[in-house]
Symmetry: C2
Subunit: 334 residues, 2 copies
């Protein structure tokens, strides 16, 4: 399946709806809630009750929908088969971020990327990067979707960057999962742009935590989520273009860890919720830092992953200067 | 106000309810939803509509309630004045985590703690720790409340630890806030125990990201949230006891940054949602690592903060071994 979310105008402002590509007419989007509402009516629900039930099982939030488990997954699968006119998404919808993640965690799993970073910053490569998928928690509420503008944070100055990644959408939560169980927990893959403000990222990470401010201002995700069975392979071509020029290209198959191993490790000893998004980490040479080229306000970044599509975002303009803390004077000598 | 959540049995399993200490009888807890329901009925709502409305304005999740803005804050303030019998929380409730955070971020803001850590691990103190509040995003869905057992993750071996921290509960969200605006965005303070599995924390952080697995298995929070106007001062006594023995004591006033500065920085260039929880970082000598003493299964950890109360949690038993990734062989030499 190809799963997305579309925004439509309503008297209360734009509303996101979950849509799925019709299996036999992949150019058409089926509105999953409408398809379920109609199916419930056919099974004897009153129109008002069908509407209420369909809204609860298929909310506008994909992460909330995934929390409904098979009740939602069945509605999704049935909608993909349903091309009656009334179930189709109306014209004029705009694709938004397909997932509004319940949690977002990013891994370092491409050896070329982390060895490039070590070389550039003159530090060694820690053996732990070959022992387990190392990662950090990101800001799950700072996501934008396709064609949306990246808000430029006031604290980013010269080295604004993108990162070309795969996003793994967790369909079913769990804890202490084994990789063999993990395939059934993956809803599908999407494209992830982990925008990075390198000036502040490198500065704050000298404090041995994070990254934080270097990443939290924005991530982009989309345009769609593709289930594993509809992807051409496990080794997908990944390409980044800036203002139309190819900056990066790589293969997803060069990850050190499988998708299932990343998901299993994300669930080890901690709750991994349905609707979580796991970033693969940046593919080798998949960011400006590795090329020593950076982004400017107004630049257009396009990330393409074979079988998924193109995620296109333009950088916004820097805002007025914001509040900075005033430095403190150390009172303890180490 | 003193705000908490209590769990009560229902035919559908335990349900959390938001409660507030009665202003004139601080030993009594008022059920905020019940108080609002009764008030709505007095203002002409039918019982069924009052129930529906009260449930929407005062859900069981405090972070969801805070998203309702003043509609919820007014209900909370009115409940604190309302000691009619029908609005009181029934007997038999159990205090649970007062906040189920929408986002959790922890800062390093106690100089004694980070200089102790630098000395112990033989690294320098980065100047950035005096230039801005450095922090990282934690796992907002791995919280337990007072008296709950800490799940011991299979990957934690010898150095299980606690961290004695203040928790700042964000009452109202925002972006790019100035510290002068921030007071109005703080709901109140609570006690935070940032449990830490030091073996894996130190190992994974050699990868220059995180912490992640070292922290994500559990945080404890509670027992109540106290609004700033009801705290005795801004310099609160903080104490940690393990199995009844005092291990740590410190003062919250030794933070490098004010509560308002932490909140403002958390919102700089990124969305800070209502219901977020910000950790102050560990007070000086407020963890076992600084004392070179660690926790064992079954240990009882009590964190006390003046004016808030005691947060008490027992460590669980280690489970069976879980899945570990198998190490990879480097194919690139740096």
């Amino acid at each position: 399946m190809r799963i997305a979310r579309m925004e439509f105008p309503t008297p209360d402002g734009p509303e996101a709806r979950i849509v799925v590509a019709a299996r036999h007419e992949p150019g058409r989007w089926v509105d999953v809630r409408a398809a379920l509402r109609l199916a419930l009516e056919r099974r004897g629900a009153t129109p008002a009750a069908a509407r209420r039930l369909a809204q609860t099982i298929v909310p506008g939030s994909l992460s909330a929908a995934l929390e409904n488990g098979e009740a939602f997954m069945e509605a999704l699968a049935q909608a993909a088969e349903d091309t009656q006119e009334e179930a189709l998404a109306p014209e004029g919808g705009r694709l938004v971020a397909p997932i509004d993640p319940s949690l977002y965690r990013d891994f370092l799993s491409f050896e070329v990327h982390f060895t490039n970073a070590a070389r550039l910053h003159h530090h060694g490569v820690a053996p732990v990067l070959y022992e387990m998928p190392v990662g950090y928690m990101g800001h799950h509420l700072a996501f934008i979707g396709p064609e949306e503008t990246v808000p430029w944070p006031f604290y980013a100055k010269e080295r604004m960057d993108f990162e070309l990644e795969l996003g793994i959408v967790v369909g079913r939560g769990g804890r202490d999962l084994h990789p063999e169980q993990a395939t059934g927990h993956i809803l599908g893959l999407t494209i992830l742009n982990d925008f990075s403000a390198r000036d502040i990222q490198l500065r704050e990470m000298q404090g041995r935590l994070g990254p934080a401010k270097g990443k939290h201002f924005c991530n982009a995700v989309g345009p769609v989520i593709v289930t594993l069975d509809e992807l051409p392979s496990r080794d997908l071509r990944m390409t980044a273009r800036v203002n139309g020029e190819v900056w990066s290209s790589g293969q997803s198959g060069t990850m050190l860890w499988s998708l299932e191993e990343l998901l299993a490790w994300a669930s080890a000893g901690e709750p991994l919720p349905a609707g979580a998004l796991l970033g693969s980490g940046t593919v080798g040479f998949g960011c400006g830092m590795e090329l020593q080229r950076y982004l400017n306000p107004g630049d257009l970044v396009e990330l393409e992953v074979e079988g998924i599509g193109v995620l296109r975002n333009r950088l916004g303009q820097p805002p007025a200067e914001g509040w900075w803390p005033s430095p403190r004077t150390p009172s303890i000598q180490v």
